[in-house]
């Protein structure tokens, strides 16, 4: 089982590899990837450096080109594929049909992974991408239960990668317009979810008001632990209930440490850690814990147990300092 870690910059990449990552994923410094925050990501030159360093360590490097090209501006996305092919990355992570087509026809030797943004959750979708573009692997959206992952793993024509830890996206990825509905910027076309320039915190007496493009997403106590403000984790009222509640989800992170044996038995090839926008300290902490957990499992698969200190260490870097199994657990759904 591969431990795949995020790298928002070269420092994070080195930290991840030193802490035990088997592979890293990263994006270029433009809107060809869905984490195009200022100060993050790689220029072509830095990508070269990153690839060299990763290869020296005997590890793998994947480039994420997971936004959808805009009409009239496709060239930028095609160039990203060209750059990747000439840099010798180990795989490209792509969501868009036209880009998969371009990459597959121009660089047939370059392995393709289907990005989570393509939102493929079933056998039909996986077959389509395999037959048409020969994808090697698909990243599953965070909407399947453990049983559904297991069922899919029995019939899938490609390797499966799942999200193991990090921010909990509760919607089928690539098909969520909540952020663009409120801010006008679509994560699918290169904007990020809840762009920072639209976020505003406002103190009002004992309360802190969280606004996204002036829409009140949440009202909390000044000392309350809050996650990054996104529409799906806000507190709202309904026609029938005037008490504000987390109608969709509360601020919490995904942590699947306890599912490790089940994921291994389901032949999941790669465990993805979310968080290219997070600090090298986060990457180090999370990678170290997961490395220990995976090694512990592999050494003695029958007696694997989650250690309290692992969960404690991960809770510290989690949203609201709480974690969940999310959709993997049927009762969450």
């Amino acid at each position: 089982m591969e431990l795949l870690c995020p790298a928002g910059n070269l420092a994070s990449l080195k930290t991840a590899l030193n802490a035990g990552a088997d592979a890293v994923y990263l994006g270029l410094k433009n809107d060809t990837n869905a984490r195009s925050f200022a100060g993050l990501n790689f220029t072509p030159k830095k990508l070269q450096e990153a690839a060299q360093y990763t290869k020296q360590q005997g590890k793998k490097i994947f480039l994420t080109i997971n936004t959808f090209p805009k009409p009239g501006e496709e060239k930028r996305w095609y160039e990203a594929v060209d750059i990747a092919a000439n840099t010798g990355v180990d795989a490209l992570i792509i969501a868009d049909l036209s880009l998969l087509d371009y990459a597959h026809s121009h660089y047939p030797h370059l392995p393709l992974h289907l990005s989570v943004q393509a939102s493929a959750t079933n056998l039909g979708a996986l077959k389509l991408y395999k037959e048409e573009f020969n994808i090697q692997r698909a990243v599953l959206p965070r909407v399947l239960s453990m049983k559904q992952v297991r069922d899919l793993s029995k019939v899938t024509p490609v390797d499966l990668e799942v999200f193991a830890f990090g921010s909990l996206c509760i919607m089928a990825e690539g098909r969520c317009h909540l952020s663009s509905y409120v801010t006008g910027q679509s994560p699918n076309t290169g904007g990020s979810c809840s762009p920072a320039k639209h976020v505003r915190w406002q103190e009002e007496g004992e309360n802190r008001l969280t606004r996204l493009n002036e829409v009140l997403i949440d009202k909390s106590g000044i000392d309350e632990q809050m996650g990054y403000p996104v529409v799906c984790k806000g507190r709202y009222t309904t026609e029938h209930n005037s008490t504000p509640t987390h109608l969709l989800e509360s601020p919490t992170s995904l942590n699947t440490l306890s599912l490790l044996p089940e994921l291994a038995k389901a032949n999941v090839v790669s465990l993805k850690i979310e968080g290219r926008q997070r600090s090298p300290a986060y990457v180090e902490q999370v990678t170290q814990v997961w490395r220990r957990a995976i090694d512990t499992y592999l050494n003695n698969p029958d007696n694997f147990q989650t250690q309290v200190e692992w969960d404690r260490a991960l809770a510290k870097v989690s949203e609201g300092q709480t974690t969940t199994l999310g959709a993997y657990e049927r009762t969450w759904q």
Partner: protein, 286 residues
């Protein structure tokens, strides 16, 4: 340009659905989509019931499309989907790539629903090569986007715009309707039936924001692009979709072109931001 009626996105009692389509049959609406697109736990109507409705609508002169589930998770859902695709009579609206694969495998033409990620001409052409006859533009895209696409060359496929109704914004594994009632999905009691146009969610400043519809999240505001009818027609758009939220939508779709570009008043907050490259919930007076 003509009117189309999208699939009912809510869980309505069977009698109400039948009554609805009986009225649709008597209308002038030429194109009707029907089928459960949100949740396989909604079993008020079975596949055979939808086929009966499809026959009834076809006999009254309508073009009928069977809409498929937007989020396929369990193997049983994929089996059910294949049954729909292989119905032998009606074209399908694919709302997931799995449905496209099923249609392609059977060499059947299909329509791409609004939840398929279509963001550029090259992708649309690929889908057309696989059998796509028409696509419904993803709701977050704009008039500018479409102009850029159609200005390159006249597309060989038709275009449909989600022009009126509550916007489909997101899909999750979690059932939000069950959750707010304190129920879990596996024992949801098909509680969605209590909210025939979803459950309105407001901010703590009483701003209507979202609409909970089972595993789907919709906009609180109703998109209304009726004032754009003539410019859409000029752009070569084939269909203007009205997404049903009540029986009054039938009349609306029916009268759409008689009223010309005049907007029809409804009670809900309106929005048209996406069409003008803005936040979806914005309402521009144009």
């Amino acid at each position: 340009m003509k009117a189309s009626l999208g699939p009912i996105l809510y869980c309505w009692p069977k009698e109400k659905v039948i009554e609805f389509y009986t009225q649709v049959a008597a209308s002038q609406i030429p194109l009707v989509y029907l089928g459960e697109t949100i949740c396989s736990r909604r079993r008020e109507l079975k596949f055979s019931d939808y086929m009966d409705l499809a026959h009834m609508l076809r006999d009254s002169g309508k073009e009928v499309v069977l809409s498929t589930l937007a989020l396929l998770e369990a193997p049983s859902e994929y089996t059910e989907l294949k049954k729909q695709v292989e119905n032998g009579e009606f074209i399908i609206e694919a709302n997931d790539m799995g449905a496209i694969q099923a249609a392609k495998e059977n060499k059947l033409p299909f329509i791409c629903g609004p939840t398929i990620n279509n963001y550029n001409l090259a992708s649309l052409k690929t889908l057309h090569k696989w059998g796509m006859q028409r696509f419904v533009m993803p709701v977050e895209l704009s008039k500018h986007w479409l102009n850029t696409v159609v200005s390159v060359e006249k597309p060989e496929f038709e275009i449909e715009i989600f022009g009126h109704g509550f916007l489909p914004l997101a899909l999750s594994a979690r059932c939000f309707t069950a959750r707010q009632k304190g129920l879990v999905k596996d024992k949801c009691q098909t509680i969605c039936i209590e909210n025939p146009k979803g459950l309105l969610a407001q901010t703590q400043e009483s701003q209507p924001l979202l609409r909970l519809n089972g595993i789907q999240t919709q906009s609180a505001a109703c998109i209304d692009l009726t004032s754009e009818l003539s410019s859409m027609s000029d752009m070569g758009i084939s269909y203007f979709r009205v997404s049903p939220s009540s029986v009054s939508c039938i009349e609306k779709a029916d009268k759409l072109f008689e009223l010309g570009s005049q907007s029809v008043q409804v009670d809900d907050t309106h929005c048209n931001g996406y069409w003008h490259q803005q936040a979806g919930f914005n309402h521009l007076q144009i």
